[in-house]
């Protein structure tokens, strides 16, 4: 039942928060915060005490749902899901916290949408029935659309609909692939089921396997994002309200990476192997292109958005390398990127809230004005560029190490992305924190609550960087099970 609670708490919390907002906006905020704290605490209790069991599943739940269509209500959690749900809880609290002072109209509806996105994301990480997975996959999009469309910035309508159409079209392609897989399985075994475990070993003809794999891949590639499909991302991240950007960058992109690891390769091993070279090429292009585009931005949130494209290229690289090292790296990279980019969006959001602009040309010399914010920005930029001691370094290092085993050239080219990351991060700091200030800026520094949020994120990134083994142990078992006996390169 714990697994149902993980999803139900934000769902119900959202509705209650909406209902309470009629009486008091403060009550709505407090309730949302309590709900997300409860979800995080509940997820922490699932942290396994020992990691030696042979069974990777920490908990499972299966119930009849729509037996006529072979659909069951099936939720399970393993180390991979657990880590991502912990990230969801953490960033959920951050999002509610950062909206405290930034969202002051339609508060109840905002928290309803925010908590429902988080519930949808949690569901995606837990669902083990492909229909249920698709259900949550679509469920998290609608409130996200409303978050951008109703509370976003100047071009929000455009950004929101672009985000939705990209993800929806690719999602429907995945649906067709799911259904095609269902029918292939039905034909071969006579069992009508959408259950992940049962579909795992469906033998597929090369061509149909490849087509189905591409159906899944395109949905996850849009989310991750992989380069030719990324164009929704800078718009959506830039136009979303701060909490929306945090959830988008921190969590929604991770659902793409999670989908690749959980579904694409295990369900279609042959097709994925056949497609690995094009995928690795796309990954490397993404790393370099994202970094390159980050230089060209004058809009601070847009710059951070493009760094996401670059950093998550490493996840694609890790997944299609498909060995233990690279996968471990991809998982750590997803977690660290979620935390560090989430934090950068928090800082950018605070700046925008006070300055009324995201244009870096209008900033400069902020270190003298807001030293605490400056220090925080320095810290997370260092994390993003992969400074040792921070989580991102571990993620990128492990991924590159794993890739090196597979192909030296891919590893070398991808490593160039690290150098570019160094340059754009320092450039960001230079333009925002140093130099002469344009105008006499009188903006308040981080308040205690904001400082607490930033400190929590900083602590998380240091944990990932200094004690990665704890996290690696948790994910190792799940990844070993996914890699299977023939998983070694």
């Amino acid at each position: 039942m714990t697994l149902v609670w993980l999803i139900a708490i934000p769902l119900v919390g959202g509705i209650l928060s909406f209902a309470l907002s009629r009486f008091s906006a403060l009550a709505a905020r407090v309730l949302a915060l309590v709900a997300m704290t409860a979800q995080l605490s509940l997820a922490i209790t699932l942290w396994p005490s020992s990691t030696s069991a042979a069974d990777p599943w920490l908990q499972a739940l299966q119930a009849r749902w729509i037996p006529q269509l072979g659909i069951s209500f099936s939720l399970t959690i393993d180390g991979l899901s657990l880590l991502l749900i912990l990230l969801t809880g953490l960033l959920g609290i951050v999002s509610v916290g950062i909206s405290w002072s930034q969202i002051d109209e339609r508060v109840g509806l905002f928290h309803l949408n925010l908590l429902w996105v988080l519930a949808g994301v949690t569901g995606v990480f837990l669902a083990m029935d492909l229909f249920l997975f698709y259900f949550f996959w679509e469920l998290m999009l609608i409130p996200m659309y409303f978050l951008i469309d109703l509370w976003g910035h100047e071009r929000r309508h455009y950004a929101a609909i672009k985000f939705f159409l990209f993800t929806q079209l690719s999602g429907l392609l995945m649906l067709v692939a799911i259904v095609a897989l269902f029918f292939t399985h039905l034909q071969q075994t006579g069992v009508a089921t959408f259950e992940y475990q049962q579909l795992l070993s469906t033998p597929l003809a090369p061509l149909s396997g490849m087509l189905m794999m591409l159906g899944f891949l395109v949905a996850f590639a849009v989310k991750l994002p992989v380069v030719p499909l990324h164009t929704w991302l800078p718009d959506a991240h830039t136009q979303a309200p701060t909490a929306g950007s945090v959830v988008l960058a921190g969590l929604l992109l991770k659902t793409g990476g999670y989908g690749l690891i959980r579904f694409v390769v295990p369900l279609f091993p042959e097709a994925a192997r056949a497609f690995s070279v094009p995928a690795l090429v796309l990954a490397v292009i993404g790393i370099l292109y994202g970094a390159h585009m980050a230089f060209a931005q004058t809009d601070m949130k847009r710059l951070i958005a493009y760094t996401s494209v670059s950093h998550l290229g490493f996840v694609l690289l890790g997944v299609f390398t498909w060995n233990a090292l690279a996968l471990q790296g991809a998982v750590i990279q997803m977690l660290s990127h979620g935390v560090s980019t989430g934090a950068l969006f928090v800082l950018a959001g605070i700046l925008q809230h006070h300055l009324g602009t995201r244009d870096m040309a209008a900033m400069g010399g902020l270190w003298r004005v807001v030293p605490r914010l400056g220090a925080a920005m320095m810290f997370f930029s260092m994390a993003a560029l992969g400074l040792p001691g921070m989580g991102n370094f571990i993620g990128e290092f492990l991924t590159l190490l794993g890739t090196y085993h597979l192909s030296v050239s891919f590893a070398v080219v991808a490593a160039a992305g690290l150098i570019l990351a160094l340059v754009y991060s320092l450039w960001l700091l230079d333009r925002v924190l140093y130099g002469p200030s344009r105008d006499p800026l009188a903006i308040p520094d981080l308040r205690a609550s904001e400082l607490a949020i930033v400190a929590a994120l900083a602590l998380a990134i240091l944990c990932l960087g200094l004690a990665p083994q704890a996290f690696l142990n948790i994910s190792a078992q799940a990844l070993d099970a996914l890699l299977g006996p023939g998983g070694a390169p």
Binding site: I142, Y145, L165, L169
Partner: protein
């Protein structure tokens, strides 16, 4: 009571109620009394559907067959009529004269729909169709005050009359060749390769059906009629009128070979593709909510034609399930418009709905749910409807149609989401302030509206989260099909 009578009881009770309403109107014009009589009649007919559900299928007279398939639709149509009676009560509060006839016409039109789904003979087909259409002519023109009502009614009258003659001529052509009008006798010759005359006859019948379903290229009347008709009547046209024809089409196509390489299959497939595409594209820039729903219904009929191509039991069950989800969402959307309107003024433009959520939060919530359901998004009935449709399409290897469906369903999100998001916009955002009328409704009428809308909301959610019971019922329906 003998079992034969029992199967037909819902139809008989509906017909009797119509007569009773007529007599009540003749005796004394009382709005409330008429509504009570209508409600009692509809509820007892519904009860009889439940009773008849346990009886075995049987042909009833040479013209009708009362199987579970027909009974299922009888129940569905009666529920729609029930909802529209409740909604109509509030809507007609401010109508000055002759509001009681609305219920009479509604009952007759419902009876027409019920006849259609039970029809196994061209005679009952035509009878049901005309009963439906003639009631609708009057219903569309029910709003006496604004001109568009009359214009819409005349447009519908002329076009429906024309297509009825097409339909009759098609039936005559088939009769001239085969000498029979009973579906049971038509099955064998029609499943053979068709002669040109037979093909022509069938195509003419398809034209008639296409007009009623508002399938492209016979869709031109739809937006005008939806706009001009009173909101509950538009709801009826979008649901019962189209649903009955579609159910009948499924019964008739079950005897034909509609595979994709067959010419008739091609006709249906192109109808589906054109309806989906044209309907969605025309809805994109539509500033008027009722016209938007009209174009959306054109596209939805396109989706449903895919189910027609599946033929047989699969087609019947998929179409039935999708129709229920479509009915619920469409009724809810028009229900919200009805609740915001009276017979004199209906909020039409989307701008008038801006910020509705801050004035009428429950209605805005339901309209959002209805729009999301039509768009096929999760937690609503439409999500399961679309899922079932895609699943069946992939299962039958209708790849091209599924592809068009997917692209169209993405396109349609643009306008559904735009309409939904307007409801929550800040009121100061647009140039025009809201003009949704804030008329006062008596408590009883408000309660009737609330009951109907809450029930619709629950049905949409229930089907979106736990569709199993409905699927089980439809499973029973499908086994009795044919």
């Amino acid at each position: 009571m003998n079992p034969l009578g029992n199967m037909a009881a819902p139809m008989i009770v509906t017909a009797t109620t119509a007569v009773a309403v007529m007599l009540v109107i003749g005796a004394c014009r009382s709005h409330r009394m008429t509504v009570y009589v209508t409600l009692i009649g509809l509820l007892s007919a519904l009860l009889l559907v439940l009773v008849a559900w346990r009886l075995p299928d049987r042909p009833f007279a040479p013209l009708l067959i009362l199987d579970h398939y027909a009974l299922f639709y009888h129940g569905l149509f009666l529920l729609v009529a029930l909802a529209l009676t409740l909604l109509g009560y509030g809507y007609l509060q401010h109508h000055e004269t002759q509001r009681e006839e609305y219920y009479l016409l509604l009952l007759l039109a419902t009876l027409g729909g019920m006849t259609l789904v039970a029809s196994t003979h061209f005679a009952s087909f035509f009878l049901g169709l005309e009963m439906l259409s003639i009631s609708l002519y009057a219903l569309i023109a029910f709003r006496a005050a604004p001109a568009p009502g009359v214009e819409a009614a005349i447009k519908y009258l002329v076009l429906a009359g024309l297509t009825s003659s097409f339909l009759l001529f098609g039936m005559a052509l088939i009769y001239s060749q085969l000498g029979t009008m009973a579906l049971a006798d038509l099955a064998a010759p029609l499943s053979q390769p068709l002669t040109p005359v037979l093909l022509g006859g069938l195509l003419l019948i398809f034209v008639g059906i296409g007009f009623k379903l508002a399938v492209v290229p016979f869709h031109l009347w739809t937006p005008d009629v939806y706009e001009g008709a009173p909101a509950p009547v538009s709801a009826f046209i979008a649901t019962v009128s189209k649903g009955a024809i579609l159910a009948l089409l499924l019964r008739y196509t079950a005897v034909l070979d509609l595979s994709a390489d067959h010419s008739l299959g091609q006709v249906v497939a192109w109808g589906a593709i054109l309806s989906m595409t044209v309907g969605n594209l025309l809805a994109l820039k539509q500033p008027d909510l009722k016209r938007l729903l009209a174009y959306s219904s054109i596209a939805q009929m396109g989706y449903l034609l895919i189910a027609v191509l599946l033929t047989g039991r699969v087609g019947a069950s998929v179409a039935s399930f999708y129709l229920v989800t479509y009915f619920a969402a469409t009724l809810a959307a028009f229900g919200v418009i009805t609740a915001l309107s009276n017979e004199r003024e209906e909020p039409a433009l989307l701008v008038e709905y801006q910020g509705l959520a801050w004035r009428r939060p429950w209605l805005a919530g339901l309209l959002t749910m209805a729009l999301l359901s039509l768009a096929g998004l999760p937690l609503t009935a439409g999500f399961l409807g679309k899922f079932v449709l895609v699943t069946a399409g992939v299962g039958a290897h209708l790849w091209a149609l599924v592809g068009v469906l997917i692209v169209n369903s993405t396109v349609s999100l643009y306008y559904y989401l735009r309409a939904a998001s307007i409801l929550y916009a800040r009121t100061d955002e647009g140039a025009e302030a809201s003009t949704v009328p804030g008329h006062s409704t008596p408590a009883l009428a408000a309660a009737a509206t609330a009951v109907a809308l809450v029930a619709l909301a629950l049905i949409i959610l229930w089907l979106g989260v736990y569709p199993s019971p409905l699927l089980a019922i439809i499973g029973e329906v499908a086994t009795s099909f044919r």
